[in-house]
């Protein structure tokens, strides 16, 4: 099928590939084969989305960075031509600054950048190490098997972002369940809307408490912006919602999917288990971020000023999708890209995006993953999958890729 697509005239509607494309069940860590074919054959093609719209798909690393770094694109889901993932995206309202353009995006984003600075995050490392060690102690105190997602991968980033924001971790059932619904592509708009409203209501209540009684946490700092008249209560709630969701869903999937990928590549797992070099572990985290690309539905933008990409003019009002998973497998940038190689220099990957919207929490995500990958396999050297690989359920039905459960024993 890809052969006929490669030379297709973009206007011929029946020949357009649908996006997203299905993965190969036998290669759950690799991008869809059709996406790989496209990257080899054409840097730019039109695709068809769930709603019949036909945005451009950018397949190559350099082109993706060029688009994401261009001020002529908009991340506002209301911009004409914006390629939406589902209807209505995010349920109610906007997910704060990630769905805005500068200067408002920069104004709001800068209100919450402080705790994510590299040195502030580094100061949290001992606390994260304790969380990881305690969870491993808990796992090892039982006979197994356990679900690594439920018992380890999800609690770590949840505990950390709750502590940072000041959200009581005791309420985790409420926000973890609702988040699952919000990121599930098969949820109905009504289900996603209800989950979003319940989360927003909960966080609005937390912010109201901080308005009356400020503490030393990020929610109080956001509430302070409301008091100062810089944002209203709804904007504060949307900001808190964004940070809470982004803070735990992504890292949790990196931990579980990363562990599965390492169990399938025992030679690479051995490198991590046997290394005491923090630099090696940091490099391994970058390679796993590159290789796993858990954001698998592409970075999406609406073009607001005509731009030329790969010799083709994309017009204002057209949508464009950067399939970042395939950019991270671009052989021009990463030789032998489909090989998980923890010794390679993978720092230029686009797992956190590129341009002004690049992930705000990336120093925190990196540190959490460094602690996890640098600890789990040393402390549990006999860790193994407790089911057949064929029985692992992959999250092809979610905005963030990963595994639904990961039964492990030791």
């Amino acid at each position: 099928m890809a052969d006929t697509l490669a030379g297709a005239v973009p206007e011929a509607p029946d020949s357009l590939p649908e996006f997203p494309m299905p993965r190969e069940a036998r290669c759950p860590f690799d991008p869809p084969p059709a996406l790989k074919d496209l990257q080899e054959k054409t840097p730019l093609t039109k695709v068809r989305l769930w709603d019949g719209s036909e945005p451009w798909l950018v397949t190559r690393y350099a082109d993706q960075r060029a688009v994401l770094g261009d001020p002529g694109v908009s991340a506002d889901t209301d911009s004409p031509g914006y390629p939406t993932k589902a209807s209505p995206e995010g349920g109610e309202g906007k997910l704060s600054f990630i769905m805005m353009d500068d200067p408002e995006h920069a104004r709001l984003r800068r209100m919450v950048t402080a705790p994510f600075a590299v040195k502030k995050v580094e100061a949290l490392r001992p606390a994260v190490q304790r969380i990881v060690d305690d969870l491993i102690d808990g796992m090892l105190s039982r006979p197994g098997p356990v679900d690594l997602v439920e018992e380890f991968a999800l609690p770590i980033p949840s505990l950390v972002i709750c502590e940072l924001l000041g959200v009581p971790y005791d309420d985790h059932a409420l926000f973890q369940e609702n988040t699952k619904t919000m990121v599930r592509t098969t949820a109905t708009p009504e289900q996603r809307g209800a989950a979003t409203r319940e989360m927003a209501g909960y966080l609005a209540g937390q912010i109201a408490k901080r308005l009356a009684d400020p503490k030393d946490d990020l929610l109080s700092s956001i509430a302070g912006r409301v008091t100062a008249g810089e944002i209203d209560h709804q904007q504060a709630t949307e900001m808190a919602l964004l940070l809470l969701i982004a803070g735990h869903e992504t890292t949790a999937n990196m931990i579980a999917l990363g562990t599965l990928a390492l169990l399938q590549n025992p030679d690479q797992l051995a490198l991590l288990r046997d290394s005491d070099d923090p630099k090696f572990v940091a490099g391994a985290v970058e390679e796993l971020l590159r290789y796993l690309h858990i954001t698998h539905l592409g970075r999406r933008r609406a073009v607001t000023e005509d731009m030329e990409i790969a010799g083709q003019v994309i017009k204002a009002g057209e949508g464009v999708i950067m399939a970042n998973e395939i950019a991270n497998r671009d052989p021009e940038v990463f030789p032998d890209p489909d090989r998980l190689d923890l010794t390679r220099d993978a720092r230029r990957h686009v797992a956190f995006g590129f341009g002004v919207h690049q992930c705000l929490g990336q120093p925190l995500a990196r540190m959490e993953l460094q602690v996890v990958y640098g600890t789990l396999y040393k402390r549990v050297p006999t860790l193994k999958l407790a089911c057949a690989l064929e029985d692992v359920r992959f999250k092809n039905d979610a905005f963030i890729y990963g595994v639904h459960e990961l039964p492990v024993s030791w």
Binding site: A117, G355, C359, P363
Partner: protein, 64 residues
Amino acid sequence: MKVELEADKCVASGQCVLAAMDVFDQDDDGIAILLEEQVGEDRLDDVKEAVAVCPAAAIRLVEQ
């Protein structure tokens, strides 16, 4: 070589600090700060990496 930083473009990703910790730091809001304007051969690779990974294209290396 001279390093130039446009701090008002910075999006506080912290990547420059990770690439070259003795050339870049962050202020209280996470915005990049230039610690050294002149870099010698020994620091050049790290600063080039910082230029390459900066998502906001806020860092440049200038020949003198």
